[in-house]
Symmetry: C2
Subunit: 176 residues, 2 copies
DNA sequence: ACAGCCATGTAACTTGTTACATGATTTT
DNA sequence: AAAATCATGTAACAAGTTACATGGCTGT
């Protein structure tokens, strides 16, 4: 995923590693938790190996350290377009919580209830963080960053709704 | 993720590779698209390397081929419990479609509209499949498998709602 | 005979991720 | 003087994924 994100960020202009990290985080509207800078460099070297980008060192006269600036190749642009053209996964079954809940089948109901309770706390906490972000948007907020935020909120609400449904069904099961 | 799922499936009883594949797919209520059997074996050998499972060959008298049966170790059970105890990710920003939408910031609006339209088609198609599954549940459907199905539907609806919101906002932007 | 299921595994590769190592410049 | 930011990279490992190779048994 980072691979394609870096390609997309290079469409605008050639950039160096650190710059790409900053641009990526800004693009994600502060919603991406931590991006390890090391990963950016490893990903870039793999992209270069695959000829999707090229690089050259710029001796930044007077500036800090020398920078290695990466540029998109035609093959890189093609790879990006191909990625964008393919629809993304629609069913969230590879979501970790889905899998955990599925696995409670082979454990007991108490386990399931605890799992749900823990996850609800997690969602509520995330909800508070996102609500804060909505109330006090970053100075560089824009159309897309606010859409990302609202998307995240919609998914969180769906998650909470689902947890409620799970609790209800489990309670019904116990009555029987 | 498969690693932990396999550990969970071994809580009930010792099992061999192929059996684990079938049990896993059943547990996921048919919602997991394709599980490559090769991945089960590689994951099992890595689990054994890490002493989370042990295995021994059972000479299945009269039966087909010999089977290698895996058993959970105390360390494996501990690893499973630890995994279950940790809350799963709550913000869906690592969702591929989120990232693609974020990246449209650096591309044009038409690109964003196409992206959204394609994704909507994908969601609607998935919705039809899930609706069919709801209407004609598998013979081995149970509480958890129906919860998984409803969870998947809730997330899909949230996804569609979000796409609608994106379209609205983009249309507003264009009027200005 | 042939397809399909049962059963196991290896080799190779991609992507993600962390920890470590280095050093300059700027701000407090 | 110390902390934060700018800047680059490597080594090693974890996890996901596919393609390939092998062979027995079962039903049509």
């Amino acid at each position: 995923m980072l691979k394609h994100a870096l390609l997309a960020l290079l469409v605008q202009q050639p950039r160096h590693g650190y710059e790409l990290k900053v641009a990526f985080e800004k693009t994600m509207g502060g919603l991406w938790p931590e991006i390890n800078i090391g990963q950016v460099y490893t990903t870039l070297s793999r992209l270069e190996r695959d000829a999707l980008v090229t690089s050259h060192v710029v001796d930044s006269t007077g500036e800090r350290t020398d920078k290695r600036v990466y540029e998109l190749t035609p093959a890189g642009l093609a790879a990006l377009k191909d990625w964008l053209a393919q629809p993304s996964e629609s069913i969230q079954i590879k979501n970790e919580f889905f899998v955990k809940l599925a696995l409670t089948q082979i454990m007991d109901l108490e386990e399931a209830k605890d799992l749900i309770a823990r996850q609800r706390r997690e969602y509520l906490q995330a909800m508070r963080i996102l609500d804060d972000l909505s109330a006090n948007p970053a100075s560089d907020a824009n159309l897309v960053s606010s859409l990302l935020l609202e998307g995240a909120l919609l998914y969180l609400r769906a998650g909470l709704e689902w947890l409620d449904l799970c609790d209800q069904r489990i309670a019904q099961q116990e009555v029987k």
